[in-house]
Symmetry: none
Subunit: 87 residues, 4 copies
DNA sequence: ACCCTCGAATGTTAAC
DNA sequence: GTTAACATTCGAGGGT
Protein backbone atom coordinates (compact mmCIF):
# COMPACT_ATOMS: atom_id res chain seq x y z
CA UNK A 1 0.00 0.00 0.00
CA UNK A 2 1.35 3.38 -0.97
CA UNK A 3 2.65 6.04 1.38
CA UNK A 4 -0.02 8.40 0.14
CA UNK A 5 -2.77 6.01 1.06
CA UNK A 6 -1.32 5.49 4.48
CA UNK A 7 -1.13 9.20 4.89
CA UNK A 8 -4.77 9.57 3.95
CA UNK A 9 -5.67 6.81 6.40
CA UNK A 10 -3.94 8.62 9.21
CA UNK A 11 -5.67 11.84 8.34
CA UNK A 12 -9.02 10.10 8.34
CA UNK A 13 -8.34 8.46 11.66
CA UNK A 14 -7.40 11.77 13.22
CA UNK A 15 -10.45 13.50 11.81
CA UNK A 16 -12.76 10.82 13.12
CA UNK A 17 -11.15 10.95 16.53
CA UNK A 18 -11.44 14.70 16.75
CA UNK A 19 -15.08 14.64 15.79
CA UNK A 20 -15.90 11.87 18.22
CA UNK A 21 -14.06 13.66 20.98
CA UNK A 22 -15.98 16.85 20.34
CA UNK A 23 -19.27 15.01 20.19
CA UNK A 24 -18.56 13.47 23.54
CA UNK A 25 -17.99 16.90 24.98
CA UNK A 26 -21.19 18.09 23.43
CA UNK A 27 -23.07 15.18 24.93
CA UNK A 28 -21.54 15.88 28.31
CA UNK A 29 -22.83 19.42 28.19
CA UNK A 30 -26.24 18.25 27.05
CA UNK A 31 -26.25 15.98 30.10
CA UNK A 32 -25.38 18.94 32.31
CA UNK A 33 -28.28 20.85 30.89
CA UNK A 34 -30.61 17.97 31.60
CA UNK A 35 -29.30 17.93 35.13
CA UNK A 36 -30.05 21.59 35.65
CA UNK A 37 -33.60 20.99 34.49
CA UNK A 38 -33.87 18.08 36.88
CA UNK A 39 -32.68 20.27 39.74
CA UNK A 40 -35.13 22.94 38.75
CA UNK A 41 -37.91 20.40 38.79
CA UNK A 42 -36.84 19.20 42.23
CA UNK A 43 -37.06 22.81 43.40
CA UNK A 44 -40.64 22.92 42.22
CA UNK A 45 -40.27 24.71 38.91
CA UNK A 46 -42.28 23.61 35.93
CA UNK A 47 -39.66 22.43 33.46
CA UNK A 48 -41.95 22.68 30.48
CA UNK A 49 -42.50 26.32 31.16
CA UNK A 50 -38.85 26.79 31.95
CA UNK A 51 -37.91 25.45 28.54
CA UNK A 52 -40.33 27.86 26.96
CA UNK A 53 -38.69 30.73 28.79
CA UNK A 54 -35.29 29.73 27.50
CA UNK A 55 -36.63 29.40 23.99
CA UNK A 56 -38.31 32.77 24.06
CA UNK A 57 -35.23 34.52 25.42
CA UNK A 58 -33.25 32.98 22.60
CA UNK A 59 -35.73 34.07 19.96
CA UNK A 60 -36.26 37.59 21.20
CA UNK A 61 -33.14 39.20 19.74
CA UNK A 62 -33.89 37.52 16.44
CA UNK A 63 -37.40 38.84 16.37
CA UNK A 64 -36.26 42.38 16.90
CA UNK A 65 -33.99 41.93 13.93
CA UNK A 66 -36.74 40.43 11.84
CA UNK A 67 -39.22 43.16 12.62
CA UNK A 68 -36.69 45.73 11.59
CA UNK A 69 -36.24 43.81 8.40
CA UNK A 70 -39.98 43.73 8.01
CA UNK A 71 -40.01 47.46 7.42
CA UNK A 72 -37.41 47.23 4.70
CA UNK A 73 -39.26 44.24 3.42
CA UNK A 74 -42.32 45.85 2.00
CA UNK A 75 -40.40 48.91 1.01
CA UNK A 76 -37.90 46.83 -0.93
CA UNK A 77 -40.60 44.75 -2.50
CA UNK A 78 -42.29 47.94 -3.60
CA UNK A 79 -39.11 49.50 -4.85
CA UNK A 80 -39.15 52.13 -2.13
CA UNK A 81 -36.19 51.06 -0.10
CA UNK A 82 -33.84 53.92 0.82
CA UNK A 83 -30.66 52.27 -0.43
CA UNK A 84 -31.89 50.98 -3.73
CA UNK A 85 -33.10 53.48 -6.21
CA UNK A 86 -35.10 52.43 -9.21
CA UNK A 87 -32.02 50.73 -10.65
CA UNK B 1 -46.75 -18.95 1.66
CA UNK B 2 -49.65 -18.44 4.05
CA UNK B 3 -52.76 -16.45 3.34
CA UNK B 4 -51.94 -14.21 6.27
CA UNK B 5 -48.60 -13.35 4.81
CA UNK B 6 -50.10 -12.56 1.46
CA UNK B 7 -52.64 -10.41 3.19
CA UNK B 8 -49.91 -8.51 4.96
CA UNK B 9 -48.05 -8.09 1.69
CA UNK B 10 -51.05 -6.55 0.07
CA UNK B 11 -51.58 -4.22 2.96
CA UNK B 12 -47.96 -3.13 2.79
CA UNK B 13 -48.15 -2.55 -0.93
CA UNK B 14 -51.24 -0.42 -0.56
CA UNK B 15 -49.73 1.60 2.23
CA UNK B 16 -46.58 2.26 0.25
CA UNK B 17 -48.59 3.28 -2.79
CA UNK B 18 -50.74 5.65 -0.81
CA UNK B 19 -47.76 7.30 0.79
CA UNK B 20 -45.93 7.65 -2.49
CA UNK B 21 -48.99 9.07 -4.14
CA UNK B 22 -49.41 11.65 -1.41
CA UNK B 23 -45.75 12.56 -1.49
CA UNK B 24 -46.02 13.19 -5.19
CA UNK B 25 -48.87 15.55 -4.58
CA UNK B 26 -46.90 17.26 -1.90
CA UNK B 27 -43.96 17.67 -4.23
CA UNK B 28 -46.21 19.06 -6.91
CA UNK B 29 -47.44 21.72 -4.55
CA UNK B 30 -43.91 22.49 -3.44
CA UNK B 31 -43.07 22.99 -7.09
CA UNK B 32 -46.01 25.33 -7.46
CA UNK B 33 -44.75 27.36 -4.55
CA UNK B 34 -41.33 27.59 -6.12
CA UNK B 35 -42.96 28.77 -9.29
CA UNK B 36 -44.79 31.56 -7.53
CA UNK B 37 -41.50 32.74 -6.05
CA UNK B 38 -39.95 32.64 -9.50
CA UNK B 39 -42.78 34.73 -10.89
CA UNK B 40 -42.42 37.16 -8.04
CA UNK B 41 -38.73 37.47 -8.77
CA UNK B 42 -39.46 38.10 -12.43
CA UNK B 43 -41.77 40.91 -11.34
CA UNK B 44 -38.90 42.47 -9.46
CA UNK B 45 -39.64 41.36 -5.92
CA UNK B 46 -36.86 40.27 -3.63
CA UNK B 47 -37.61 36.61 -2.94
CA UNK B 48 -35.46 36.45 0.14
CA UNK B 49 -37.44 39.19 1.71
CA UNK B 50 -40.66 37.69 0.44
CA UNK B 51 -39.87 34.44 2.20
CA UNK B 52 -39.25 36.39 5.38
CA UNK B 53 -42.64 38.02 5.07
CA UNK B 54 -44.33 34.67 4.73
CA UNK B 55 -42.41 33.32 7.67
CA UNK B 56 -43.28 36.25 9.90
CA UNK B 57 -46.95 36.09 9.00
CA UNK B 58 -46.95 32.44 9.90
CA UNK B 59 -45.27 33.03 13.22
CA UNK B 60 -47.29 36.01 14.34
CA UNK B 61 -50.32 34.23 15.76
CA UNK B 62 -48.05 31.81 17.58
CA UNK B 63 -46.02 34.59 19.09
CA UNK B 64 -49.04 36.25 20.52
CA UNK B 65 -49.86 32.97 22.19
CA UNK B 66 -46.34 32.49 23.43
CA UNK B 67 -46.08 35.95 24.87
CA UNK B 68 -49.27 35.38 26.73
CA UNK B 69 -47.79 32.21 28.05
CA UNK B 70 -44.70 34.17 29.01
CA UNK B 71 -46.69 35.95 31.65
CA UNK B 72 -47.97 32.73 33.14
CA UNK B 73 -44.51 31.33 32.79
CA UNK B 74 -42.72 33.23 35.47
CA UNK B 75 -45.80 33.26 37.64
CA UNK B 76 -46.11 29.51 37.46
CA UNK B 77 -42.43 29.04 38.09
CA UNK B 78 -42.74 31.20 41.15
CA UNK B 79 -45.84 29.46 42.37
CA UNK B 80 -47.94 32.54 41.73
CA UNK B 81 -50.02 31.32 38.86
CA UNK B 82 -53.77 31.93 39.27
CA UNK B 83 -54.76 28.29 38.88
CA UNK B 84 -52.23 26.69 41.12
CA UNK B 85 -52.14 27.52 44.77
CA UNK B 86 -49.06 26.90 46.88
CA UNK B 87 -49.55 23.18 46.55
CA UNK C 1 -48.64 57.45 -3.68
CA UNK C 2 -48.10 56.59 -7.31
CA UNK C 3 -50.22 54.28 -9.39
CA UNK C 4 -47.16 52.10 -9.96
CA UNK C 5 -46.69 51.60 -6.27
CA UNK C 6 -50.30 50.70 -5.78
CA UNK C 7 -49.98 48.24 -8.58
CA UNK C 8 -46.92 46.73 -6.97
CA UNK C 9 -48.75 46.48 -3.67
CA UNK C 10 -51.56 44.56 -5.24
CA UNK C 11 -49.14 42.22 -6.91
CA UNK C 12 -47.40 41.61 -3.60
CA UNK C 13 -50.67 40.92 -1.86
CA UNK C 14 -51.68 38.41 -4.48
CA UNK C 15 -48.34 36.68 -4.38
CA UNK C 16 -48.46 36.35 -0.62
CA UNK C 17 -51.97 34.99 -0.75
CA UNK C 18 -51.13 32.43 -3.38
CA UNK C 19 -48.13 31.20 -1.45
CA UNK C 20 -50.06 30.96 1.79
CA UNK C 21 -52.86 29.10 0.08
CA UNK C 22 -50.44 26.60 -1.41
CA UNK C 23 -48.66 26.11 1.88
CA UNK C 24 -51.95 25.27 3.52
CA UNK C 25 -52.58 22.61 0.92
CA UNK C 26 -49.13 21.25 1.43
CA UNK C 27 -49.71 21.04 5.16
CA UNK C 28 -52.98 19.23 4.58
CA UNK C 29 -51.24 16.58 2.53
CA UNK C 30 -48.50 16.24 5.09
CA UNK C 31 -51.21 15.55 7.63
CA UNK C 32 -52.67 12.88 5.36
CA UNK C 33 -49.29 11.21 5.13
CA UNK C 34 -48.97 11.18 8.88
CA UNK C 35 -52.35 9.56 9.04
CA UNK C 36 -51.35 6.77 6.68
CA UNK C 37 -48.33 6.04 8.85
CA UNK C 38 -50.60 5.97 11.87
CA UNK C 39 -52.87 3.45 10.16
CA UNK C 40 -49.88 1.37 9.16
CA UNK C 41 -48.73 1.34 12.75
CA UNK C 42 -52.17 0.27 13.92
CA UNK C 43 -51.94 -2.63 11.48
CA UNK C 44 -48.71 -3.71 13.10
CA UNK C 45 -46.15 -2.31 10.69
CA UNK C 46 -42.97 -0.72 11.97
CA UNK C 47 -43.17 2.87 10.78
CA UNK C 48 -39.47 3.49 11.09
CA UNK C 49 -38.68 0.68 8.70
CA UNK C 50 -41.57 1.71 6.52
CA UNK C 51 -40.08 5.19 6.19
CA UNK C 52 -36.79 3.67 5.21
CA UNK C 53 -38.49 1.64 2.51
CA UNK C 54 -40.04 4.78 1.07
CA UNK C 55 -36.69 6.52 1.13
CA UNK C 56 -34.92 3.66 -0.58
CA UNK C 57 -37.47 3.50 -3.35
CA UNK C 58 -36.84 7.15 -4.07
CA UNK C 59 -33.09 6.87 -4.51
CA UNK C 60 -31.21 6.26 -7.69
CA UNK C 61 -29.61 2.79 -7.41
CA UNK C 62 -26.38 3.87 -9.08
CA UNK C 63 -25.65 6.80 -6.80
CA UNK C 64 -26.51 4.64 -3.89
CA UNK C 65 -23.93 2.10 -4.96
CA UNK C 66 -21.23 4.72 -5.34
CA UNK C 67 -21.88 5.99 -1.85
CA UNK C 68 -21.75 2.48 -0.50
CA UNK C 69 -18.39 1.96 -2.11
CA UNK C 70 -16.94 5.11 -0.69
CA UNK C 71 -18.33 4.21 2.70
CA UNK C 72 -16.60 0.88 2.45
CA UNK C 73 -13.35 2.61 1.55
CA UNK C 74 -13.51 4.83 4.61
CA UNK C 75 -14.46 1.98 6.91
CA UNK C 76 -11.59 -0.07 5.53
CA UNK C 77 -9.19 2.75 6.25
CA UNK C 78 -10.41 2.65 9.83
CA UNK C 79 -10.15 -1.13 10.02
CA UNK C 80 -13.90 -1.43 10.29
CA UNK C 81 -14.82 -2.98 6.98
CA UNK C 82 -17.40 -5.73 7.34
CA UNK C 83 -16.86 -9.14 5.74
CA UNK C 84 -13.56 -8.24 4.12
CA UNK C 85 -10.31 -8.11 5.97
CA UNK C 86 -7.59 -5.52 5.46
CA UNK C 87 -7.09 -6.51 1.81
CA UNK D 1 -43.79 40.51 48.04
CA UNK D 2 -42.82 37.67 50.29
CA UNK D 3 -39.30 36.56 51.05
CA UNK D 4 -40.15 33.15 49.68
CA UNK D 5 -41.10 34.58 46.34
CA UNK D 6 -37.94 36.61 46.16
CA UNK D 7 -36.00 33.53 46.94
CA UNK D 8 -37.76 31.64 44.18
CA UNK D 9 -37.04 34.46 41.77
CA UNK D 10 -33.37 34.29 42.52
CA UNK D 11 -33.37 30.56 42.03
CA UNK D 12 -35.10 30.96 38.72
CA UNK D 13 -32.65 33.56 37.58
CA UNK D 14 -29.73 31.35 38.45
CA UNK D 15 -31.23 28.38 36.71
CA UNK D 16 -31.87 30.32 33.56
CA UNK D 17 -28.36 31.69 33.57
CA UNK D 18 -26.81 28.29 34.06
CA UNK D 19 -28.79 26.80 31.22
CA UNK D 20 -28.00 29.63 28.88
CA UNK D 21 -24.35 29.42 29.74
CA UNK D 22 -24.28 25.71 29.02
CA UNK D 23 -26.13 26.12 25.78
CA UNK D 24 -23.55 28.63 24.64
CA UNK D 25 -20.82 26.11 25.34
CA UNK D 26 -22.73 23.50 23.45
CA UNK D 27 -23.06 25.81 20.49
CA UNK D 28 -19.36 26.55 20.60
CA UNK D 29 -18.55 22.86 20.38
CA UNK D 30 -21.04 22.38 17.57
CA UNK D 31 -19.17 25.11 15.72
CA UNK D 32 -15.89 23.29 16.34
CA UNK D 33 -17.34 20.14 14.86
CA UNK D 34 -18.47 22.00 11.78
CA UNK D 35 -14.96 23.31 11.47
CA UNK D 36 -13.43 19.84 11.55
CA UNK D 37 -15.78 18.75 8.78
CA UNK D 38 -14.74 21.80 6.78
CA UNK D 39 -11.08 20.89 7.22
CA UNK D 40 -11.80 17.33 6.19
CA UNK D 41 -13.51 18.57 3.10
CA UNK D 42 -10.53 20.78 2.27
CA UNK D 43 -8.34 17.70 2.54
CA UNK D 44 -10.50 15.99 -0.04
CA UNK D 45 -12.73 13.83 2.13
CA UNK D 46 -16.40 13.46 1.34
CA UNK D 47 -18.17 14.90 4.33
CA UNK D 48 -21.42 13.13 3.63
CA UNK D 49 -19.73 9.76 3.80
CA UNK D 50 -17.70 10.91 6.74
CA UNK D 51 -20.85 11.73 8.67
CA UNK D 52 -22.18 8.31 7.86
CA UNK D 53 -19.03 6.74 9.25
CA UNK D 54 -19.43 8.63 12.49
CA UNK D 55 -23.06 7.59 12.72
CA UNK D 56 -22.25 3.95 12.10
CA UNK D 57 -19.59 3.89 14.77
CA UNK D 58 -22.15 5.15 17.26
CA UNK D 59 -24.74 2.47 16.63
CA UNK D 60 -25.17 -0.77 18.43
CA UNK D 61 -24.36 -3.57 15.96
CA UNK D 62 -27.15 -5.82 17.18
CA UNK D 63 -29.96 -3.32 16.83
CA UNK D 64 -28.61 -2.40 13.47
CA UNK D 65 -28.84 -5.99 12.35
CA UNK D 66 -32.42 -6.35 13.52
CA UNK D 67 -33.45 -3.28 11.60
CA UNK D 68 -31.71 -4.55 8.51
CA UNK D 69 -33.60 -7.81 8.76
CA UNK D 70 -36.95 -6.14 9.06
CA UNK D 71 -36.08 -3.87 6.17
CA UNK D 72 -35.27 -6.92 4.11
CA UNK D 73 -38.59 -8.46 5.05
CA UNK D 74 -40.50 -5.41 3.88
CA UNK D 75 -38.50 -5.10 0.69
CA UNK D 76 -39.11 -8.78 -0.03
CA UNK D 77 -42.82 -8.29 0.39
CA UNK D 78 -42.60 -5.57 -2.22
CA UNK D 79 -40.50 -7.71 -4.52
CA UNK D 80 -37.52 -5.45 -4.04
CA UNK D 81 -35.17 -7.61 -2.07
CA UNK D 82 -31.59 -7.34 -3.28
CA UNK D 83 -29.52 -10.45 -4.01
CA UNK D 84 -32.23 -12.87 -3.01
CA UNK D 85 -35.14 -13.76 -5.21
CA UNK D 86 -38.70 -14.24 -4.06
CA UNK D 87 -37.76 -17.14 -1.82
C1' DA E 1 -45.38 1.36 31.69
C1' DC E 2 -46.60 2.94 27.07
C1' DC E 3 -47.85 6.09 23.71
C1' DC E 4 -47.75 10.50 21.93
C1' DT E 5 -46.67 15.05 21.37
C1' DC E 6 -43.13 18.33 21.04
C1' DG E 7 -38.58 20.37 20.37
C1' DA E 8 -33.85 19.66 19.01
C1' DA E 9 -30.54 17.87 15.67
C1' DT E 10 -29.35 16.16 11.38
C1' DG E 11 -29.24 15.64 6.46
C1' DT E 12 -30.75 17.35 2.08
C1' DT E 13 -31.67 20.64 -1.33
C1' DA E 14 -32.08 25.10 -3.44
C1' DA E 15 -30.49 29.88 -4.04
C1' DC E 16 -26.94 33.01 -4.95
C1' DG F 1 -18.94 26.43 -3.94
C1' DT F 2 -20.84 28.23 -0.01
C1' DT F 3 -24.50 29.54 2.67
C1' DA F 4 -28.95 29.37 4.22
C1' DA F 5 -33.78 27.30 4.07
C1' DC F 6 -36.27 23.15 4.20
C1' DA F 7 -37.81 18.64 5.25
C1' DT F 8 -37.15 14.67 7.96
C1' DT F 9 -35.62 12.09 11.78
C1' DC F 10 -34.45 11.27 16.49
C1' DG F 11 -34.96 11.73 21.36
C1' DA F 12 -36.79 13.49 25.59
C1' DG F 13 -40.82 14.70 28.51
C1' DG F 14 -45.48 14.54 29.85
C1' DG F 15 -49.89 12.52 29.95
C1' DT F 16 -52.97 8.52 30.20
Amino acid sequence: MSADTNFAKDQLRQIVERIERLEEEKQAIAADIKEVYAEAKALGFDTKVLRKVITLRKKDPQEREEEEMMLHTYLSALGMAPDFGEE
